[in-house]
Amino acid sequence: MNILFAQEVPLSWYLLLSAVLFSLGVVGFLIKRNLITIFMSIELMLNGVNLSFVTFAHQWHAVKGQIFVFFVMMVAAAEAAVGLAIIIAVFRARATLAVDRIDRMKL
């Protein structure tokens, strides 16, 4: 094990990856029209943040960051359940998932 992974991946790479993931999420959120794709973009952003949490937790030997990640994942799971339910309800009412058409608070 130690021989294979003797050379550790530098911290900046993780952070770079995290930033890329987050940016992909943001861009996806902004340019996609489909509600489900936008939802996936949110997950992407959350995981980008999670990655930087884990990275710093490993770097500073602080367990708090990892606990945070668990919380984020848990909330994200709950959010997925609620969000998907809302998306289904919206689709039933409007027969569309294009966000540009769902521009009224009143259904």
Binding site: F29, L30, V99, D100
Partner: protein
């Protein structure tokens, strides 16, 4: 003093009556309303009597217990009861204090005593009125404020009562508020009184500025310590006080509200607009007499205004045909007498006349109310006549009242009027002029009062109503008591009423020779007083004779005289056109100013414009900002992302904040 006197009970009892009848009166049965309404002033009168008794029992220790009216007894120390500090800022310290001295004791007994009698009378007079409970709650409220006014130990507490009785007066004049004339009369009374109150307020400000206190006794002490207080600011303060007194006591030029105040119920006219409230001005001048004593000029103004009002109102009363208006102008005239008395520094004579006037004028008003009640609301003298058989009790008491006000001995008015005229006569040359004006007024008074008497009770019945009825006993009882007081009330002058008041109203500070040494009057030669009395009585009898000639022996005489002097008659019948004059010079310009400037410029222009401007700004801002609220999810998200990016940028690169700030300033400047 042996133990507290509980002076606070005296105003508080009527106030309790006001609260009970004012809040619950509509739901309570009528007998309960009556009981509460009558108990309140009766209890106040009882407490007043009790305090008087306390004061006397205490002072009796100093002298023989058998004499009620000897000189040492009458000198009791003023009792001051403070209910706590009201205002305490820097130099200004005002206590909520009540003072009981000889002056306030006399006033208190008159106010609560006559007030109670008029309450009793009202039970009969107002029995059919819908606003029965409301009427009595107002009447009790009036007594509450009036007793505060009388008991006040400083000018500010007096001012509470002063404004309060004005309020009660307004409420009661406009009691039948469905009638437009009553409504207008109430407003007129209130507004004209405000002009006088302005003077009172200015006087208080000047007192605080110059003496640093509003307490009457402290002002007197400070004036006594420093003989330098003469004329100047003292004159200004005294004149401002006189302005307030002229408003409240219906003196020239602010008397115009009192005749209109007759729109209220007749017992109200008797209580407020004859016996008690309108005398508040006289009481106030007597209360602050030290200021007037230090200003001969102000005293001269008081005397002149009083004499002028007395004769002015008396001439108007000659030709009025409304029974209440004759009495109203007579009240103004008699108040003029009181001011004449104050103006010649005969304060005790003025207070004495105030007291006797309260008796006989309340009597006359209530008797007039009894006549009006008996005739079913008729107030026109020309439609009365021959009532003496139908209304025997009313006729008898009115006769007493007329004899009293005309100044026929031994009725009450004789003594008080005589005391004032005598005091005026002693005041040098000016005093002689004032005396002759007073004497002429006495002649006119006797004439118009006997005119009223003849037109109402004697001659042929001219009333369209065939069955005038005598009033119930609740109305006749007070009339009889007041008649007794109108007969005997004057006799206490012979038992040293003036000396009784001397500790408060004081031996005067003399400035000039002729103003010196007036008190006590009895020290002067009795012969001069006797001669003047005989003249006064002869003049009164002459007035009676003329009235007898005009209205009994030759009833056509008044009409022919009026035809012979059409302009003079017109002038008097229209009350010298004073109301029209004020209407043209004050009311109309003020209304025009309000219409043009206040309505169009201030209301529509400034206030309305400001409202429109603010509304416009909000609408405009809303129109711009609503574009952000597009409802488009991705646009919100984009703004969110942009905001986050901006915050991040500013955090990472601090100097960019400064740059952005400079850019904003540059843009702002460029924008102009």
């Amino acid at each position: 003093m042996s133990g507290p006197l509980h002076l606070w009970l005296i105003p508080l009892l009527p106030f309790a009556g006001f609260l009970i009848n004012g809040i619950l009166g509509r739901r309570l049965p009528k007998w309960l309303v009556t009981t509460v309404a009558l108990l309140a002033p009766l209890a106040a009168f009882g407490v007043a009597l009790y305090t008087a008794a306390c004061v006397y029992i205490f002072t009796h220790i100093q002298c023989a217990p058998s004499c009620p009216f000897c000189a040492p007894c009458s000198i009791f120390q003023p009792v001051v009861e403070s209910l706590g500090t009201w205002i305490n800022i820097a130099v200004l310290h005002v206590d909520f204090s009540f003072v009981l001295d000889q002056l306030s004791l006399v006033m208190l007994l008159v106010v609560t005593g006559v007030g109670f009698l008029i309450h009793v009378y009202s039970v009969g007079y107002m029995s059919d009125d819908e606003g029965y409970a409301r009427y009595f709650s107002y009447l009790n409220l009036f007594l509450f404020f009036m007793t505060i006014l009388v008991l006040a130990g400083n000018a500010l507490v007096m001012f509470i009562g002063w404004e309060g009785v004005g309020l009660a007066s307004y409420l009661l004049i406009g009691f039948w508020f469905q009638k437009k004339s009553a409504d207008d009369a109430g407003k007129k009374a209130f507004i004209v009184n405000r002009i006088g109150d302005f003077g009172f307020l200015i006087a208080m400000f000047l007192l605080v500025a110059n003496f640093g206190t509003l307490t009457f006794t402290e002002i007197a002490t400070k004036l006594g310590q420093d003989p330098g207080w003469n004329g100047g600011v003292v004159t200004v303060i005294a004149l401002c006080l006189m302005m307030g007194a002229a408003g409240k006591s219906a003196q020239l030029p602010l008397y115009i509200w009192l005749p209109d105040a007759m729109e209220g119920p007749t017992p109200v006219s008797a209580l407020i607009h004859a016996a008690t409230m309108v005398t508040a001005g006289v009481y106030m001048v007597a209360r602050t007499h030290v200021l007037f004593d230090h200003s001969p000029f102000a005293l001269g103004v008081v005397a002149t205004v009083g004499a002028a009002t007395a004769i002015f109102a008396a001439t108007i009363a000659l030709v009025q045909n409304d029974i209440k208006r004759v009495l109203a102008y007579s009240t103004i005239s008699q108040l003029g007498y009181m001011f004449l008395g104050c103006g010649v520094a005969a304060y005790s004579a003025a207070i004495f006349h105030l007291m006797t006037h309260a008796f006989f004028k309340a009597l006359l008003f209530l008797a007039a109310g009894s006549v009006i009640h008996g005739l079913g609301g008729e107030q026109d003298l020309r439609k009365m006549g021959g009532l003496w058989k139908k209304l025997p009790v009313t006729f008898a008491v009115t006769t007493v009242g007329v004899l009293a006000i005309a100044g026929i001995p031994p009725f009450a008015g004789f003594f008080s009027k005589d005391a004032i005229l005598y005091a005026a006569f002693l005041q040098g040359t000016n005093g002689k002029i004032l005396y002759s004006v007073g004497l002429l007024t006495a002649l006119l008074t006797a004439f118009y009062m006997f005119r009223l008497w003849y037109m109402t009770f004697l001659g042929e019945p001219r009333s369209p109503q065939s069955h005038p009825h005598e009033s119930p006993w609740s109305m006749r009882g007070p009339l009889v008591i007041l008649a007794a007081l109108s007969i005997c009330g004057g006799w206490i002058w012979l038992y040293g009423f003036s000396e009784f008041l001397t500790p408060v109203l004081g031996a005067r500070v003399a400035e000039t020779g002729s103003w010196r040494l007036l008190i006590p009057y009895t020290q002067y030669s009795l012969s001069l007083e006797t001669v003047l009395s005989i003249i006064a009585v002869l003049v009164a009898l002459e007035g009676w004779l003329i009235a007898d000639k005009f209205y009994r022996r030759k009833p056509t005489r008044p009409a022919s005289l009026a035809a012979a002097l059409p302009s003079g008659y017109k002038l008097l019948a229209n009350k010298y056109f004073v109301d029209e004059f004020y209407g043209a010079t004050v009311v109309k310009p003020l209304l025009g100013f309000s219409k043009v400037f206040l309505e169009w410029v201030v209301d529509v222009g400034i206030l309305g414009g400001a409202a429109w401007l603010l509304g416009g700004i909000a609408t405009f801002a809303g129109a711009i900002l609503q574009r952000w609220q597009s409802g488009n999810l991705r646009s919100y998200a984009a703004w969110l992302a942009a905001g986050a990016a901006a915050v991040l940028l500013f955090l990472l690169v601090p100097w960019i904040t400064v740059l952005a700030y400079l850019a904003a300033i540059h843009l702002g400047v460029a924008g102009h």
